[in-house]
C-alpha cells in the first residue's frame, strides 16, 4: 500500500510523527494472527471429523446404516448385536432435556438474582461461588446424583430405580447451571442502566422491568449461554455414566436406567474391547452421530439467535 495521498497541511508541525505504517502493519498482523486463531477451531473440527470418519466408514461396512437408524435395540457388546442408535439418542435427549428444564429457569433466575437483587457486595461473593460449582469434578456430581439425589427422589417417585435418567438429568442441570447463570449474568449486567430507568419511569415494578426490558435486551447473551449449556449437557460424560446406568433401552421413562451416547463412548473407550474391533469402532459411529446432531442443533440456534438478536446501541 502506498503512503497516504493526502496533501500536507500547513499546521502539521514536527510534533506529530505518527508511524502509520507501523500501526497498519500491527493491525494487519493482529488480523492475520487472530484469523489464524479462528482457523484453529476449523482445524479442530476437521481433525475431529478425520478422527471419526475412517472408523465410522469401517463401521458402516459392517453394520448397514439402515439397521443403525431403525433398530430399536442397542447391544453391540452382546452376542446378538444390534445397533439401534435411536436408543442412545433418546437417552441423551432425555437427560439433556431434564437438565435444561432444571438449568434454564434456575440459571436465568440466579443470573437475575445476582445482577438485580443481590447487593453489589454480596454479588461479588455469590458469583464466584457459583462459578466454583462449575469446577466441581463431574465425577463428584455423578456420585452425588447416585448416592444422594436418587435416594431422595425414591421417596416420592414411585418405581424409581437406583440408576435413572431423572437424577442424572437433574444433577446434570445443576452442573451446567453455573455456565448459564454466569454468562447470562454478564449479559444482564451489561444492559445499560438507562433502559431500566426508562422502564421504572413508566411505573413498572422491578420484575416487570427485568422480564420485559432487561431480559429481552440481554437475549443474545442469554441464548448464547443456553447454547453452551445445552452443548455441555449433550456432551457431558461422567455424570450420566455414573448415575444414569449403562442400560441401553428405548424409553422416555426417566425412572429407569438408560445409556447415553457419551456414556457408551466412555464405557468402550476405557473398557477392555480391542481397538479396531467392531465393538470399538462403534464409538466412532456414535461420536459421529453425536457430532451431527449437535451440528443441527447449533445451526438451528444460530438461526434463532440471528432472528432475535437486538442491538441496544
Amino acid at each position: 500500500m502506498t503512503t497516504s495521498q493526502l496533501p500536507d497541511s500547513p499546521q502539521n508541525s514536527g510534533l506529530w510523527q505518527p508511524n502509520r505504517q507501523l500501526s497498519k502493519s500491527m493491525e494487519l498482523l493482529a488480523k492475520i494472527v487472530f484469523g489464524a486463531f479462528g482457523l484453529v477451531s476449523i482445524a479442530t473440527t476437521i481433525g475431529i471429523v478425520l478422527t471419526l470418519i475412517f472408523e465410522t466408514f469401517l463401521f458402516f461396512q459392517e453394520v448397514p446404516i439402515w439397521n443403525f437408524l431403525t433398530d430399536t435395540q442397542w447391544t453391540p457388546l452382546f452376542t446378538n448385536s444390534q445397533y439401534g442408535i435411536i436408543v442412545l439418542i433418546s437417552a441423551t435427549f432425555l437427560t439433556s432435556f431434564i437438565a435444561l428444564i432444571v438449568a434454564m429457569p434456575m440459571g436465568i433466575l440466579a443470573a437475575v438474582c445476582l445482577s438485580e437483587y443481590a447487593p453489589s457486595g454480596l454479588r461479588k461473593w455469590l458469583k464466584p461461588a457459583l462459578e466454583i460449582l462449575a469446577g466441581v469434578p463431574t465425577v463428584v456430581f455423578g456420585y452425588f446424583a447416585l448416592f444422594f439425589v436418587s435416594p431422595i427422589l425414591e421417596t416420592f417417585v414411585p418405581g424409581l430405580r437406583p440408576f435413572n435418567g431423572l437424577s442424572a438429568g437433574i444433577v446434570l442441570g445443576i452442573a451446567i447451571l453455573p455456565t448459564i447463570a454466569s454468562l447470562s449474568e454478564d449479559a444482564i449486567y451489561a444492559v445499560p442502566q438507562s433502559l431500566r430507568q426508562g422502564s421504572y419511569a413508566l411505573g413498572a415494578t422491578k420484575r416487570e422491568t427485568v422480564t420485559n426490558v432487561v431480559l429481552p435486551a440481554a437475549l443474545s447473551g442469554i441464548v448464547a449461554s443456553f447454547i453452551l449449556g445445552i452443548a455441555r449437557a449433550v456432551g457431558e460424560t461422567m455424570i450420566v455414566t455414573i448415575a444414569a446406568g449403562q442400560n441401553p433401552r428405548l424409553t422416555l421413562d426417566p425412572r429407569v436406567p438408560i445409556q447415553t451416547m457419551t456414556s457408551f463412548i466412555v464405557q468402550v473407550a476405557k473398557g477392555d474391547a480391542p481397538t479396531g474391533s467392531i465393538e470399538f469402532i462403534t464409538i466412532f459411529a456414535v461420536g459421529m452421530t453425536l457430532f451431527l446432531i449437535t451440528l443441527v442443533l447449533n445451526a438451528f440456534s444460530f438461526w434463532f439467535v440471528g432472528r432475535f438478536r437486538e442491538k441496544y446501541e
Binding site: S120, L195, R196, L202, G203, A204, T205, A217, E310, Y312
Partner: protein, 268 residues
C-alpha cells in the same frame, strides 16, 4: 395516612420542596432547594452543566431510589403527600409522574411494544392499537413510523427515538411529566411540535422540564428555576438553587446578579 396537614400546601401546588439537600453517598450534590411547583403549569429548570438539575428532577418520581447511596434530606411533597413517606408506593407514583430522559432510551423492542409496554403493565383497559396511534400522533411521530410499528425502536434515528420515548411516557396518561432535556436530540420542527404538545398537556398536567435552551425555557415555561454550582473546598462542585420565579421575572428582571449574568448570555 401520615400526611401532616400543616405542611400540606394548596391545591395549586404539585410539588412542594423545602430545604431539600440531595446527596450521592456522602457527596452533597445540591443543597438547600426550596420550590413550589404549580399545578398545570410548565416549570423550567435552567443552569450550567453539572449544577444538579437532573438530580432534583429525578427525585420527583423517586428515580434516585435506583442509584445506590442517593438520598434526600428535607421535605419533598407531591400534592401534599411526603414523597419519601413509607406509605407512598414508588411504582404507582411513577405511573402518575412520567419521565423523558436526556439520552433517548427506547427499549430494544418493536416500536409498538415500546408504547404498549407501559400501558399493559399498568392495566390499560382500552384498545391498545388506538392508544399506540394516539400517543405516537401526540409525539409527532406517527407519520414517520406508522408503516414500521413492528420494527425495533432502535432502528430509527436519534430524534425519532426521543419522540418515541415521549410517546411512551404520555401513553400512560401521567399527571405530571418530567422532561430532562427532551429536545436536545430533536430538530426545530420536532421541537416545536413537542412544545406545542407541552402546551396542550399543560391544560391537564403539570410539566417540569430541564433545558439548556434559554429560548425554550422562556418560550414554554411559566416558572423558571435557575440553578448554579460553586466549587467546594474539597474540589467538587455543589449545586444550589439561585432563584425561582415566574419566567418573565427571571428573564427580564431577576433578583440575583448571577441569574442576570446567566440569562444575558442568552442567544438571539
Amino acid at each position: 395516612m401520615q400526611t401532616n396537614p400543616s405542611t400540606a400546601v394548596g391545591a395549586g401546588t404539585t410539588f412542594h420542596v423545602a430545604q431539600a439537600n440531595y446527596y450521592y453517598g456522602s457527596f452533597l450534590a445540591v443543597s438547600n432547594v426550596n420550590l413550589d411547583i404549580p399545578e398545570r403549569k410548565i416549570t423550567a429548570f435552567i443552569g450550567p452543566s453539572g449544577c444538579g438539575k437532573s438530580t432534583v428532577l429525578r427525585c420527583f418520581n423517586r428515580l434516585n431510589d435506583l442509584i445506590p447511596g442517593a438520598h434526600v434530606e428535607g421535605t419533598i411533597q407531591y400534592r401534599g403527600v411526603d414523597l419519601y413517606d413509607k406509605s407512598v408506593d414508588a411504582t404507582e407514583l411513577r405511573r402518575r409522574i412520567g419521565m423523558v430522559f436526556q439520552k433517548p432510551n427506547p427499549f430494544p423492542k418493536s416500536i409498538y411494544e415500546n408504547i404498549a409496554f407501559g400501558a399493559r403493565i399498568n392495566g390499560y383497559k382500552g384498545d391498545m392499537d388506538e392508544l399506540v396511534e394516539r400517543s405516537l400522533r401526540k409525539a409527532a411521530l406517527w407519520e414517520e413510523v406508522k408503516d414500521k410499528l413492528k420494527e425495533s425502536g432502535l432502528s430509527i434515528s436519534g430524534g425519532q427515538q426521543q419522540r418515541l420515548c415521549i410517546a411512551r411516557a404520555i401513553a400512560i396518561e401521567p399527571e405530571v411529566l418530567l422532561m430532562d432535556e427532551p429536545c436536545s436530540a430533536l430538530d426545530p420542527i420536532s421541537t416545536l411540535r413537542v412544545e406545542d404538545l407541552m402546551h396542550e398537556l399543560k391544560e391537564q398536567f403539570t410539566i417540569v422540564i430541564v433545558t439548556h435552551n434559554m429560548q425554550q425555557a422562556s418560550r414554554v415555561s411559566d416558572m423558571t428555576a435557575f440553578y448554579n454550582a460553586q466549587a467546594t473546598e474539597k474540589g467538587g462542585k455543589q449545586g444550589y438553587l439561585v432563584e425561582y420565579a415566574p419566567t418573565q421575572t427571571i428573564f427580564n428582571n431577576p433578583a440575583q446578579q448571577a441569574t442576570q449574568d446567566y440569562v444575558s448570555g442568552r442567544f438571539g
